[in-house]
Symmetry: D3
Amino acid sequence: MQQKVAVYRKESFNAAHRLNNPLWDEEKNKIVFGKCNNPHYHGHNYDLIVKVIGIPDSQTGFVMDLKELSDIIQNNIVEKFDHRNLNEDCIEFKGLNPTAENIAIVIYNILKEKINPSLDIQVRLYETDRNFVEYPHHI
Amino acid sequence: MQQKVAVYRKESFNAAHRLNNPLWDEEKNKIVFGKCNNPHYHGHNYDLIVKVIGIPDSQTGFVMDLKELSDIIQNNIVEKFDHRNLNEDCIEFKGLNPTAENIAIVIYNILKEKINPSLDIQVRLYETDRNFVEYPHHI
Amino acid sequence: MQQKVAVYRKESFNAAHRLNNPLWDEEKNKIVFGKCNNPHYHGHNYDLIVKVIGIPDSQTGFVMDLKELSDIIQNNIVEKFDHRNLNEDCIEFKGLNPTAENIAIVIYNILKEKINPSLDIQVRLYETDRNFVEYPHHI
Amino acid sequence: MQQKVAVYRKESFNAAHRLNNPLWDEEKNKIVFGKCNNPHYHGHNYDLIVKVIGIPDSQTGFVMDLKELSDIIQNNIVEKFDHRNLNEDCIEFKGLNPTAENIAIVIYNILKEKINPSLDIQVRLYETDRNFVEYPHHI
Amino acid sequence: MQQKVAVYRKESFNAAHRLNNPLWDEEKNKIVFGKCNNPHYHGHNYDLIVKVIGIPDSQTGFVMDLKELSDIIQNNIVEKFDHRNLNEDCIEFKGLNPTAENIAIVIYNILKEKINPSLDIQVRLYETDRNFVEYPHHI
Amino acid sequence: MQQKVAVYRKESFNAAHRLNNPLWDEEKNKIVFGKCNNPHYHGHNYDLIVKVIGIPDSQTGFVMDLKELSDIIQNNIVEKFDHRNLNEDCIEFKGLNPTAENIAIVIYNILKEKINPSLDIQVRLYETDRNFVEYPHHI
């Protein structure tokens, strides 16, 4: 049986955000989220790597055309989040704290709908080059 | 005559900002600054490289102790700008558009006061890995 | 039972290639492969990361000497593909479209023969820093 | 069932080391470990990436606060190994050859004790940007 | 007098090329250019950094809008050279050996015509991350 | 008059070192050099970038063949310092504190003798990706 290949595409977006739990008071938010709780927001250059897993097509040699994958990410993720305030401008984070974990889950759920369901996907999101997350995880 | 050596230290901070000229109306700001004019802000991971130029001390072999340079940058720049909204939280940008050029000039002017005046300094600021600036320039 | 360690070695090569399916006419190739179908070729700096998985030897502390792994990759992959035209100069791609997926599979099959069969291996190939692939995939 | 997220934190330390097996004579050590056997040591900038796997907490949106993870790594790994000679200064390598594989296993075992046992962890250690290891491996 | 600021924009293109001097015979070309003389070409991911030097505009805070600089590079350089064979497809290299030095000079001369003449420019071109050039040089 | 081009080559070496001034007592060395004064040494992956400045040759299009520059650096610098203890193994640092500044000056002086004297050179040395130096400096 032919083994699967993973293909990856990296895109980037820049956004402002703030970590806050509206069910907690100001003091508890300050203690838990520290500087990330700044009410005026701070921001990041997010690097997003999307992994798509499947068998290469015998006619093209592609698991998926990475130009097409790039377009899907651009149209559905970068258009939505680039140069935005995640808390204020993005419906996806009404009632959801925009931690790197939650942003990755949101991105995964959007992309999952747009990519051929026979292909598994995974999302890696860099908030900085020292802090990053991956979803879903399969150890 | 002994030649000078340049020493460099890199530090980082994450901030939100918005490009806007308050003397212009909303439409003109939108045309000139595009997505960077988003009233709810967006953000970046800024990488800052400070260059200090001088003759190495004969006893230490240092132009300047890079641990000391790191502390100066941490205490005077990172403390001030990290996890902040440059437009809202930082007095330095009241009335000054926080373009990468202007942020670099502000940082240079702060650091110039804190570093031995016999040493020349220069500041390089990365807004993203594709957009960056340097001040002052000497071609 | 002792757990396995993965060790990795990165090497690089520069090559020209062209994506084309000889069973299709020129127009279809142009539509499917776009700029990558240029009949005069284009090229890349390929970065190759080879992962080798096993139990460290109790006497050396090595899963595999990375100097030896480097030599195997240099002698069997870099010698063969560096500064070459994959379509014109490399027998491995006669009748096989040199997509990143297919190059990774070819490299895996060559290296699998050269490395101790008790060790599992995996290949990651960067065509650019934004487009890369991994083979075999185990999610 | 909710899927797990992996979160990652990168830290760095600089250390000297020497590869040597005291059960072997000088000549055999020289043959097996080559330049890495230099009796006066050599050194590296080690980059360490720690991966922690779990379900994000519903109140914080964090698998684990990366500031806390950073502190754990700083206090238990960087404090211990940074600007040290692994062979001479570090009890962990008395009788254990400080190969990248063994350093990664030592770091894993230290961190495993310090992190909530309901969370799986994995360690990646870069000795250089071309040589790196990961422990434990699950293909 | 206000000091100048340098602003930088990085773009990328992938191309095939071959180093060859048509005035020399095959043997001499082989000796001088080695693997780079392969008649079937090889290729690179070129990274291009364009530096523009001037006084920030008092109304925008920009030396030059980096979005505009990006567009100029895309339209005049990337469009022309990306996914091309420099020797075969590009009129600029008819009779000019496409060394990194000559590619940088060609790019500089094209961009010089497209950018406000009151601004000085400089071009840095990475052929690989270990080989790169800068033009014009002012030590 | 034709303008000069700068060409750059990057090489790497790994070494142990210790900062210490033998004219000072132990306590003063500890205060001034901190962790870098560890008597058992620590180490770094040094990245070295050598810049060579000149007019491209009309027959080759090269300021200098970067393969030749690479060989000069390998034979005269990497051979000498790689996998060495700078204080113990290298005559160049007998009586000279191996700060990044002094290592860069030593490297410059060695290379200056080996490269065509009509070409200016400059050396940049990374001790880490956050600490680096350049010699000689011309602002």
